[in-house]
Amino acid sequence: MEKKKSKQRLLLELCGILLGLLWLSPFYLMVVNAFKTKLEIFTNTTKLPATWTFDNFTQAFKELAFLKTFMNSLILSVVSIAIILFFSAMAAYALSRNKSKLSGVIFFLFVAAMLIPFQSVMIPLVSLFGKMNALNFYGLMFMYLGFGCSLSIFLYYGALKGIPKSLDEAATIDGCNKFQVFWYIILPMLKPISVTVAILNIIWIWNDYLLPSLVISGAGTDTIPLKLFLFFGQYTKQWHLALAGLTISIIPVIVFYLLAQKQIIKGVSEGAVK
């Protein structure tokens, strides 16, 4: 019985490892071919390169203006997320501390807005912001607040239900005004859920292509997805450069994942079972 069990486990272990390798194979193919010459990719697609060349990376790095592009993505994501976290937490706090019917209706409005897919508001949105000359980097951050606040308020609201009102009252007696209560007492207590909200938003904003392509394309503030798309159009069938560009673009995400893996997986599963 025991022997049979350990044999079974060994088999399962083997299956798991094979499946894991299969799962990683697209990344493997991307990386090894990024080190090959244009010609070698066609003669030797699956094996390690005969001679490793770094030229593809240097050129892709230059063509993508990678440092600048990376900074654009970083600034856009970090500022948008700071805005989303701050204003959503504040709104969720106000809604959770007001039990009136109107407050319930407003909360419902935010939740209902989650049903609206991006494509159904995209065209009037671009037209409206175009008329106000707001199709730029700052306009984009504001749009992310509009699209990101619903889920964020929803998650904050759930967490705020667990924070007793007596805490607010005690702080008020000590002389805090409403904003001070929020800033000094409530916000620090919301830290765990803030991590979740931040992670869910960063995955989406960092990778977003369609909205930035409509709002900031060609304005000199291209993010990684935008630049990569242009780069790809320019170098169709030049896979040695394209794959090097893809590899460079993925590295920051992988580093982030390996550093914050626990929080990411926790955040994603919390966000999914909403």
């Binding site: 204003f87 494509q119 995209m122």
Partner: protein, 286 residues
């Protein structure tokens, strides 16, 4: 905080303003524009339902819708079977379970655009190289017709999302009480009986969550479609989201595109509301 408190409204003002300007007002305008001959800037005529009639008669849109529906069905099935399978694998006591979780989830963090480009290389170059070396015919010519384009999209989507769905199933699987399974062991139940009669009923809620998540994600897919096939060959793999974007920003038919967008909204809303309804019903039953 009370309704008449200034602070209540001050706390809400930024998000209310953003949500209205970015989502609610554009949606209302969008509904209205879809009944006119709007060209993106102005309109001269109120057309009633004409745009909708044209859209529903439009073959490109109907093809896109049909392709999307087929894609959703295939993806939902494949992703859920794979997600559950992976979750069951990594909740066994194998040594590599933690690293495997990391590996399976990884594609989910990377943008659809990038993943699509990687798989374009895999399908076109790697598949044909392997096909040539081994003489397997069906590995040739991937993404050059609508069938391989379709399965290419399904494979890409499954690879990206299975790890995500796995995480959801893991959460539920880890809540299945060990005593129940042990008791079944003592009663002489085999693996399949234990799964069928204990695990499966207990993870049913995960099933609903995962199914709808996959469904709505698959229905709204755009980036992967753009980077893997770009709708080709001959628009045969264009999905609804891409059709809307193309109608608006390639062909500049704004009112038509907006009518398509409203139909898109209605379908997505129906999917989500069905899920809410099922969840509510289950809560009552429990």
């Amino acid at each position: 905080m009370k309704n008449k408190d200034v602070s209540f409204w001050l706390f809400l003002a930024p998000v209310l303003f953003a949500l209205s300007a970015v989502v609610l007002i554009p949606l209302l305008f969008g509904v209205y524009y879809s009944f006119t001959n709007w060209n993106g800037i102005s309109y001269t005529e109120f057309l009633g339902l004409d745009n909708y009639v044209n859209v529903l008669k439009n073959e490109a849109f109907r093809n896109a819708l049909w392709f999307t529906v087929k894609f959703c069905v295939a993806s939902v099935i494949v992703i859920n079977i794979m997600g559950l399978g992976l979750a069951m694998l990594v909740t066994t006591k194998i040594k590599s379970r933690n690293i495997l979780r990391t590996v399976f989830f990884m594609p989910n963090l990377i943008g659809g655009l990038i993943l699509g480009f990687i798989w374009q290389f895999v399908f076109v170059n790697v598949f044909s190289a392997i096909g040539k070396a081994t003489g397997i015919g069906w590995l040739q010519g991937w993404l050059s017709d609508s069938t391989t384009g379709f399965w290419g999209m399904v494979i890409l989507m499954s690879w990206q999302m299975a790890g995500y769905i796995m995480i959801i199933y893991i959460a539920y699987l880890e809540n299945v009480p060990g005593e129940l399974l042990e008791a079944a062991d003592i009663d002489g139940a085999n693996h399949w009986q234990k799964f069928r009669n204990i695990t499966f009923p207990l993870i049913m809620p995960a099933f609903t969550v995962s199914m709808f998540l996959t469904l709505s994600n698959a229905f709204k897919i755009y980036d992967q479609n753009l980077s893997l096939t770009n709708g080709g060959p001959y628009d045969s793999t264009t999905m609804v989201a891409m059709d809307i974007v193309n109608t608006a920003f390639k062909f500049n038919m704004m009112a038509t595109a907006q009518a398509k967008a409203i139909i898109f909204f209605i379908i997505v809303a129906i999917i989500s509301l069905t899920q809410v309804y099922i969840n509510k019903k289950r809560e009552v039953e429990m």
